[in-house]
Symmetry: C2
């Protein structure tokens, strides 16, 4: 395999100049640049990424920590991250923590700063102390979908106004005429879906209902979790006419439960979710949901992390940067309708 | 950060001994081993993976090339690969080719042998010449789900008897009494699903039907592809009582099309797929399908690739190794039933 030195010799320049051309850095005249690129082409030179990364102290990969690659939202997000990263010549390592902080810590200790230049964190249930330790070891960390824009986490993040998403979902059901609405929260009481539930409660309150007393179940953030919670909610509160899920997967599970109970969606039960994953569009009936700006969030997260990797100067204040994505928006499909008049 | 030398000094051994203990290689007495591990623990030593990889000439990551991370089968497979890899201390880089051989080649040229020790290829539409070039550059390649066990590709592979899967799916519909069956093939005519379709045709033939003349559509391997193909098939052949999809996604699309056409599945249309992805279990009605041994295939692929990375001696004949996974098996769910008697 040809080396950088051979390319430099052929082009009649120093190895540093070849390096500058390849990395689009420093001042290199156009004629020299062309000569270098021709030498690269002629020799079939391929920069040795690991070696270059070590020489520069920055490896060319970025790690994405997710809590479950089997949750279909994460591949969709990973795809958006990968597309954004590829433009900057970096590669994506996906690390799946299985929602376990210990596994997450093991990944962070092994890869951050050695195998990967920076870490994107996507709802991976990681310990903040571990993330701060990662930053101290020289690998910037960006949280990809922080749920409370007004309550920043002290680490750079891309924030989504999920409280507003919960509010929009509840307002939609209320506007259709629903009053007896059950909620399925896909996290623990003070967990990452709490803001979405707050928005739901606030919208109920604003409509003169006691939102905090509406039937609610906390369940795993999966279709199975939503299925079990819906079965339980409907057994206990058969008068419910609608289900609000804090995420699309539990909402899809609610629709499955309704199907298995012989309830027609939306005629006998309306269901609304949050996120707008591909399955929301593909389910039958298609799921009404509140779409969040997933691709925008992925692109902003990559931009923010790339900035921090390129210029890790803490004096810029970037360590506490918060980017807020566009507001969530309601997407009305076939799973919601006015409640059936009482028979 | 403590170095290997510091660990060696503290343990009173040579750096080579520390390295042997950490990599579980060479002969090291138990007392020495304990002393080294205590020194590692006391100093908080963390091996620098990139550096070690370069020193050994083998980076600790494995690349998985997939054609579309948005296809839910691939995350399921990636998860199984990752679980198997993690046990060997390696990490997974997922490369998404978008079904484009050019993108695949770019990934292979950038990562194989530098960033990754070996490459797992999962239906990524890659050019075989590119794969052979990757092997020549020193990165072993394993094809993860070769579709024709009796027709090996000349590269190490894990093979699945997909012809048998197509046969099982067709036999199931025939046993239920279906005779007018449409097929949706999720690839080009001579593409990766051809073996599945061959199995379908053979089973029809064996039942005395002209399988090769049964209505068939070649479509993208997606729900949308299956949806469009089913809509077209049913418009042209309204007498069809069943649809065979060569993959679960087109089969799920067939069920969506039936729902939108007001056809009850399975009463008015039976649908069967192949693979058994999670969505097959979660759809309503749940999809009857032929399950392939996905986790077994992932584990075998990792084992095969790890062997090749550890002992890349071509004299072992490993370059042409073919592992065949357990036979596919029919999983009967709610999307298939006997055809309705003619009204």
């Amino acid at each position: 395999m040809p080396t950088l030195n051979e390319v430099a010799r052929r082009a009649g320049v120093t190895p540093a100049t070849v390096s500058n051309v390849l990395r689009e850095r420093g001042r290199v005249g156009e004629a020299t640049r062309q000569r270098v690129l021709e030498a690269v082409e002629a020799l079939g030179y391929r920069p040795h990424l690991s070696a270059r990364a070590l020489a520069e102290g920055r490896p060319p990969t970025i790690a994405l920590m997710v809590s479950s690659i089997a949750n279909p939202f994460y591949p969709e997000f990973a795809l958006a991250v990968e597309n954004a990263l590829r433009r900057s010549g970096r590669f994506l390592i996906i690390c799946n923590t299985d929602g376990d902080p210990q596994t997450g810590r093991a990944y962070l200790e092994q890869i951050a700063g050695t195998l990967s230049a920076g870490v994107l964190v996507m709802n991976a249930n990681l310990d903040f102390a571990d993330l701060r330790a990662t930053v101290r070891r020289g690998a910037p960390v960006v949280l990809c979908m922080w749920e409370r824009p007004l309550d920043p986490p002290g680490l750079p993040c891309v924030a989504v106004d999920f409280r507003r998403a919960g509010e929009l979902a509840a307002q939609h059901l209320l506007t259709l005429g629903h009053r007896r609405i059950g909620a399925i929260v896909g996290s623990k009481v003070s967990g990452i879906h709490a803001a979405r539930y707050d928005g739901f409660v606030a919208a109920m309150q604003a409509a003169g209902l006691d939102g905090a007393c509406a039937p609610v179940r906390y369940a795993p953030d999966t279709t199975q979790g939503g299925y079990a919670a819906t079965t339980e909610l409907l057994a206990r509160h058969p008068d419910l006419t609608a289900i609000f899920g804090t995420n699309d997967l539990p909402a899809l599970g609610a629709m499955q439960a309704a199907a298995d109970l012989g309830l027609n969606v939306p005629r006998e039960l309306s269901v609304v979710g949050i996120t707008d994953i591909q399955l929301a569009r593909e389910s039958r009936p298609a799921l009404t949901t509140v779409a969040v700006a997933t691709i925008e969030a992925a692109e902003l997260a990559v931009e923010l992390l790339t900035d921090l990797v390129e210029a890790p100067d803490p004096a810029t204040g970037a360590a506490a940067r918060v980017c807020v994505v566009s507001a969530p928006r309601l997407v009305i499909r076939a799973s919601t309708a006015a409640p059936r008049a009482k028979g």
